[in-house]
Amino acid sequence: MTPPPLHRVWRLGADIDTDQLAPGHAMKHGVDVIARHCLEAVRPDFATGVQPGDVLVAGPGFGIGSSREQAAAALVHLGVAAVIAPSYSGLYFRNAFNLGLLLLTCPDAEALAEGDAVALDPIEGCVARPADGRRLDCDPIPPFLLAMVRAGGLLPQLRLRFAALKRRHPTPPLETR
């Protein structure tokens, strides 16, 4: 069996807000432009240095602030595989899964350091650091949210649902009540 892929850690502090992830001045543009400014205020090296598959490890309160889902979409656009933090804004939590971004709620996230290589097991709910064999437990994720992330987010799920509806009803269904 091949070992699970390892992900490089970018370490951030507490209360990373949506305005840092998707700065207001860039919000009139598309996600590609917003992503270039992602975290520019706290990690100016992030948007240019991040590699697909990297993970963010942060302190509590990740994603506080606005409902703008570009704050999650920018990380997806940059290829971030997951965020690992002790707690999230509830609104950001919903947005992330809706956009196919995995969030792991990990009370001991602080044990991880910049540059660590970690393996993720969202089903078992754990983050492992092979270098020293450390395993950190994460809160369980409801199965329907895991399925959403696996599908790439809520939009692909809706696409399947409406494609199935259309196959059954060649004219668009009128669902007004």
Binding site: L91, N95, E175
Partner: protein, 433 residues
Amino acid sequence: MPDSQRPQRPQRPATLAQKLVARAAGRAHVNPGEIVTCRVDLAMFHDSSGPRRLKPMLEELGAPVWDKDKVVLVIDHYVPEADDESRRIVRIARDWARTQALPHVHDGEGICHVVLPGRGHLRPGMFAVGGDSHSPTGGAFGAYMFGIGSTEMLSVVVTGEIWLRVPQTIRMHWAGRLADGVTAKDMMLALIGRFGMSGGRYQAVEFAGDAVRALPMAERMTLCNMSAELGAQTGLVAPDATTVDWLRARGVPDEALAGWERWAGDADAPAEQHGFDAAALAPQVALPHSPANSRAVTDLDATPVDVAYIGACTGAKLEDLRAAARVLAGHRVAAGVQLLVAPASRDDQAQAEREGVMDHLRAAGAQVLPTACGACAGYGGRIPDGARVISSTARNFRGRMGSATAQVWLASPYTVAASALQGRIADPREALP
């Protein structure tokens, strides 16, 4: 046997939040922690979160809007259009509203959270979502309302449903009465300072007690609005005569308000309760760069300011404008201070004009900006680089108001106005006539 003759099973006690969610989920009772699917009574979005993101996804799905009568579009973030990108976003919103023949569109009338109840769209008992994080504002009317992102809004717009983890209730009980010059904004800054920006744990915060009952609707809206900064999913105030009178005055018909009395939590329903004495509360100021950095204005060192900003859904409603005018009437702002006022809605501004409130503000040196979101989130306009700003808005994250080098202190409109007069952050209780 007819329903009326069935033996009555004793109802399990429930909080207001539980009752609202249970109704929307079609259930007699829901328990905190369980995941339920709710029917949505109203979906509100604006030019930034709405059509520009929803339209392409709707076209891709080939799905119709589930119920246009339950959708409200408010164009407030990118108006007035400052550049080509803003014009493009606003044009998408207007064109989409026209082709969809949406019945409820408010264009340039003010900020969504103020326009929505102001135009009679909200009522007690509703279950509503908004494409904006300050959507808990609707909880001031006894509606369960919370913010969601655009993809989730798409899902609501095509299915009319949303999932929810039934929240616990955190009751903030404010006894006594606020001192003159102390406001709902000060209550919220004090709570956010004490519990932190994640203190609401994405549960339902309910505001109760004599001090809350004494507040007018605009102030209750400020409480619920800033539940977002407390990290709650929603903020709630149980409706009462103040609520019903306010809604009636805005054209909500009696039949839509009937039965509002049932939207109250049961006294014996389990809730986490925290008690506060309103009379002991001093005006609060949140230091850069977090609403949680709050302290009493009396505990601040001398803090000079360059810009005094009265704006946003949080801090530029009619009552907020009146508060600022009470402090500013007959005075001029300090030399070197720029006072900016962006009224929260056209209706609020019109009433403030009729009352002479706007005259007082202008005579004090205020520059009046359009009734839109303005510089609050740095979308429409921005504050100058390096500026020290005292603001009646909700968030002072670094860079939030459009400049990474500006510093923003948050306070009530009273405190912002008093600080504009002094050129430094000042206690408004000393400035009141």
